[in-house]
């Protein structure tokens, strides 16, 4: 997995490339913990090149979303692939997380 964080004014963009598997879970968790510590809860996840995310990874995203909302934050997604969409539907995330076709649209929605 490749994980890139792009800090913008009010929004953070997390680009995930490849697959989030067992050996990658701690890196993702660490990244999200860092955002928590900095009290930054507006997050765009660019899933354009994300092939797969495991149950723990999805759990981390869900947990972050649950903490973000009461603090006025949100999590949005950019162009998740088929396997990710299937997973999102299975865990009910598709009704909680907005999905956008472009990064710019996602960032704009997050800042609003």
């Amino acid at each position: 997995m490749q994980l890139l964080r792009d800090r913008r004014e009010n929004v953070d963009v997390l680009t995930l490339r490849g697959s989030v598997r067992a050996e990658d879970n701690s890196a993702l968790a660490e990244c999200l913990n860092g955002l928590r510590e900095e009290r930054r809860f507006r997050l765009v996840i660019d899933a354009t090149d994300l092939e797969y995310i495991n149950s723990r990874g999805i759990g981390e995203v869900v947990r972050f979303l649950q903490e973000a909302r009461p603090r006025g934050g949100t999590v949005v997604l950019v162009r998740p692939r088929q396997p990710i969409e299937k997973i999102m539907k299975a865990v009910g995330l598709h009704s909680l997380v907005q999905v956008f076709d472009t990064l710019d649209e996602a960032v704009a929605a997050c800042e609003a």
């Binding site: 697959s19 149950s55 299975a90």
Partner: protein
């Protein structure tokens, strides 16, 4: 003394004396003895024919064989100083004796022939009973689906509706219940719900097992995208994995390609294997699902012809499900794929277990010419493998 068997003694010229002595010896043993002239075969069934002959009677061999096949006798003792021309009928129920042995020895041999006769009769009776059982079972199998589907499911559905109705009534009247009463009723409703879940799971497994039974029409096998099926099933099991804090990982190989199966049944195999792994893996553990192209070792096994099972073009795919559960105990290994083969391991979340899931997997996999096997040691998790033959696009 009640007779313990019917014996017919036939003797021609020169053998009458020995035949009479034998008849006396057998009568003294409580047997029902008839005598007849040479060449006479019974017109009514007897247990044993004792036939005194001279050698050279080649016609007699075929007559004795006919008597056995027509059930006029269950065993034959041929008393002859030399082997019959043409040999005795080829049958385990024919014993040869020499007249020089004398009447006592011949009597003991006749009793041995009676034992053979009883064993043959017992075997035929068992075969008739087995055939009847098979007919009854076939009839039951045909109606089992209807029985289970309607007569078992309907009451369970009704009970579930009533439970939900009761819960709804109680919720509406929550203000008149004390806190303890609310807690108690919630617990009771929870127990009812879990019991109904177990019954539902058992009914579904029974139906699934019935659907793969011999005689039930098979779904047509066709090309199935194994990776697509696996992705769908694994995605659907994410909530279970997350609830139990189990890492559910997936790694599909595009080279796995198309397999020859029915997609619904292939999905059932994947669901049963992954579901089982999640069921028996403790919190914090992991289940890894992967696919890859098959290699010759995957389809060869000592009981099977190798290339015949390898699919139309010798290719196929393998699904692997590996977990970090307790592993399979040595004493459970032989019954892993048997019907109702519940092992020592217990579901870590209290989920119901019918012992049919892996049996169903095996039946489905073998239906499509595949193979299923596992590797495991106690305390070291388990890895289940499924090989399915490939499907050629040509």
């Amino acid at each position: 003394m009640p007779s313990t068997g019917d014996v017919l003694i036939t003797a021609g010229v020169g053998h009458e004396g020995l035949a009479r002595e034998l008849a006396a010896a057998l009568s003294g043993r409580g047997l029902n003895v008839h005598t007849a002239e040479d060449r006479a075969l019974p017109t009514e069934p007897v247990d044993v024919i004792v036939c005194f002959v001279d050698s050279g009677r080649s016609d007699l061999a075929s007559k004795l064989g006919d008597a056995l096949h027509e059930d006029l006798a269950k065993a034959v003792v041929v008393v002859s100083p030399a082997p019959l021309e043409g040999g005795p009928p080829e049958d385990a129920a024919v014993l040869r004796a020499d007249p020089a042995w004398g009447p006592e020895a011949l009597a003991r041999l006749t009793e041995a022939a009676l034992e053979i006769a009883r064993e043959r009769e017992g075997r035929k009776s068992a075969e008739r009973r087995l055939a009847e059982i098979a007919r009854v079972r076939e009839s039951l199998d045909e109606s089992l689906g209807a029985i289970v589907s309607h007569d078992l499911r309907t009451p369970v559905t009704t009970l579930r509706l009533l439970k939900d109705l009761l819960a709804s009534h109680l919720s509406a009247r929550a203000d008149v219940l004390t806190k303890n009463e609310r807690v108690s009723t919630d617990e009771l409703l929870g127990i009812m719900g879990r019991s109904l879940d177990r019954m539902d799971a058992f009914i579904e497994d029974m139906l699934a097992a019935w659907r793969v039974s011999p005689g039930v029409p098979e779904d047509a096998a066709g090309p199935v995208d194994l990776n697509g099926v696996v992705e769908d099933i694994v995605a659907g099991l994410f909530p279970v994995a997350m609830q139990k804090d189990i890492v559910l990982d997936l790694a599909t190989d595009p080279g796995a390609g198309l397999v020859l199966a029915d997609s619904r049944r292939a999905g059932q195999v994947v669901s049963n294997l992954v579901g089982n792994a999640l069921k028996f893996t403790p919190r914090g553990g992991s289940v890894t699902v992967s696919t890859r192209p098959a290699v010759p070792d995957d389809w060869a096994d000592e009981d099977r012809a190798d290339e015949d099972r390898a699919g139309e073009d010798g290719k196929g795919a393998v699904l692997e499900v590996a977990d970090t559960g307790p592993g399979i105990a040595d004493e459970d290994r032989a019954k892993v794929f048997e019907r109702f083969g519940l092992g020592k391991a217990r579901a870590t979340g209290g989920e119901p277990s019918t012992g049919l899931g892996l049996y169903i997997c095996r039946e489905i996999v073998e239906l499509y010419g595949g193979r299923i096997w596992f590797e495991s040691a106690p305390g070291k998790g388990a890895r289940f493998f499924v090989f399915l033959p490939g499907h050629s696009e040509d």
